[in-house]
């Protein structure tokens, strides 16, 4: 996946101010930064929940937001094309966003049936297999309201990975969880990373970032300020704002 010169503004306020980022297959890129730095917007641009103004995002060589029109002009993609592209880009949300009227199994099955076109039985089988992977075999028929936050988020992960996305976007997926439930969710993500799932992870969990991140990216003011291995970014950096940010995070956790 390659992002080049990505820009987006809400009104006069630039949110993404020229982002360049490359993510290779199997890599886990962790994005950190203060709130308002554009991390979440970056993720939302990648699967076109937000439109971007300039630059390009290519996943497996395919431009996400636009198709090449006549005379090299970029045309916005149609709703149908977007749906097709989004199906290959998984996303897990801070507030889970499970479908409250569907059971855990049905939440995972919906995309498999309507987007991938699997027959009901096959979709159920795949859903059960993934829910098993995240440790919810005994909760298949529960509605989201009957699950704990950690369990809901694991359903959210199963729903995303069951589509077998080329890249998985995790948007502060533990921020809304009680501290004692964070571990069970991060364990699942660690396993996915171990299986070679390509991921872009926005998080405030620095231990987790250090453990699973192949690379860490520090964003501030809509730009990537620092990029490197976990050790380079978290331990050895001399970048002033990054150090200040890391100190604040540490204070919050002690």
């Amino acid at each position: 996946m390659a992002i080049r010169g990505l820009r987006k503004a809400f009104g006069p306020q630039p949110v993404l101010d020229g982002i360049d980022l490359e993510v290779r297959k199997g890599e886990v890129v962790v994005v950190i930064g203060p709130s308002g730095s554009g991390k979440t917007t970056l993720l939302r641009c990648i699967n076109l929940l937000e439109r971007y103004d300039e630059g390009s995002i290519r996943v497996d060589g395919v431009e996400v937001g636009f198709r090449d029109g006549a005379e090299g002009r970029r045309q916005r993609r149609s709703e149908r094309e977007l749906a097709h592209i989004r199906a290959d880009i998984g996303m897990v949300f801070q507030l889970f966003n499970l479908f409250p009227h569907l059971t855990a199994r049905e939440n995972v099955m919906l995309g498999l049936r309507k987007v991938r076109g699997l027959p009901k039985r096959e979709a159920a089988r795949v859903a059960e297999q993934w829910l098993g992977r995240v440790g919810l075999t005994d909760k298949l028929d529960r509605l989201p309201a009957q699950l704990s936050g950690g369990q809901q988020q694991r359903v959210g992960i199963a729903r995303a990975v069951a589509m077998e996305p080329k890249v998985l976007l995790l948007d502060e997926i533990t921020s809304a969880l009680d501290p004692e439930l964070v571990g069970e969710v991060l364990t699942v993500v660690r396993e996915l990373a171990g299986d070679g799932m390509t991921m872009i992870v926005v998080t405030h969990e620095m231990t987790f970032a250090r453990d699973v991140g192949s690379r860490i990216v520090f964003m501030d003011g809509g730009r990537i300020q620092v990029e490197g291995t976990p050790r380079e970014v978290l331990a050895e950096t001399v970048h002033e704002r990054l150090r200040a940010f890391l100190r604040r995070i540490e204070l919050k956790h002690h």
Partner: protein, 215 residues
């Protein structure tokens, strides 16, 4: 009492007309209201204001004025409708304005994240509407909509004023011949109540059917 029983077949005819008018209006306003309500929320900007103005304006004028306008007023614009067509048009237009508002409220009560989640797994707009938004919105839509249906049945009594022999006018015609208003009005009230009470009972069943958290 004897009188009431002898007039029953005549009232029955009127009752059928009331039910016929109500059913037509409920069906027409439901379809139009859903289409326009969805257009209000998801449609292009140029559609927003016309629908917004329509819904606010029609809800702001008395139903009787609307019925008279269509029946007595439209002929001035060379639109001549029968009394039945006028009544159906006026009642449906009025009820549609309400349904638009109910659809808008129900759909907008669904958190934004639901649409995002639907997008993220690759559902198209139509699929998101059908499989994500509609099942949730229906639950919020039903209770106020049932009230609107009950209102429609009651409001349909106004069609008697343009000469349609519905339950209301049938009652008045019987009274006109017998000069005994009291028993007939009581009987009429009971018949209207019977319709609406059955509707309320049915609606409770319907709401239970669509509730997904059963506690």
């Amino acid at each position: 009492m004897d009188l009431a029983i002898r007039s029953l077949p005549f009232l029955w005819e009127g009752l059928l007309v009331t039910l016929h008018v109500s059913a037509l209006v409920v069906a027409l306003s439901l379809v139009a209201g859903i289409v326009l309500g969805l257009a209000l929320v998801f449609g292009p900007r140029w559609l927003y204001w016309p629908i917004r103005v329509y819904a606010d304006f029609l809800r702001g004028i008395p139903l009787l004025v609307l019925i008279f306008f269509v029946y007595y007023g439209l002929p001035a614009f060379r639109v001549n409708l029968t009394n039945f067509a006028s009544a159906i048009l006026a009642l449906s237009a009025f009820k549609t304005a309400h349904v638009i508002e109910l659809v808008r409220g129900a759909v907008q009560s669904i958190p934004r994240g639901q649409m995002d989640a639907g997008r993220a797994i690759g559902l198209t707009f139509g699929q998101r509407l059908l499989w994500v938004i509609a099942p949730q919105a229906v639950r919020r839509f039903l209770p106020p909509w049932i009230n609107a249906v009950v209102d429609t049945v009651k409001g349909s009594a106004l069609v008697s004023l343009v000469g349609i022999v519905d339950l209301m006018l049938a009652i008045q015609q019987v009274i006109g011949r017998t000069y005994e208003p009291m028993p007939m009005y009581v009987l009429g009230a009971i018949m209207y109540f019977a319709i609406n009470y059955s509707l309320s009972l049915a609606s409770r069943q319907l709401e239970a059917h669509f509730a997904y958290v059963r506690d």
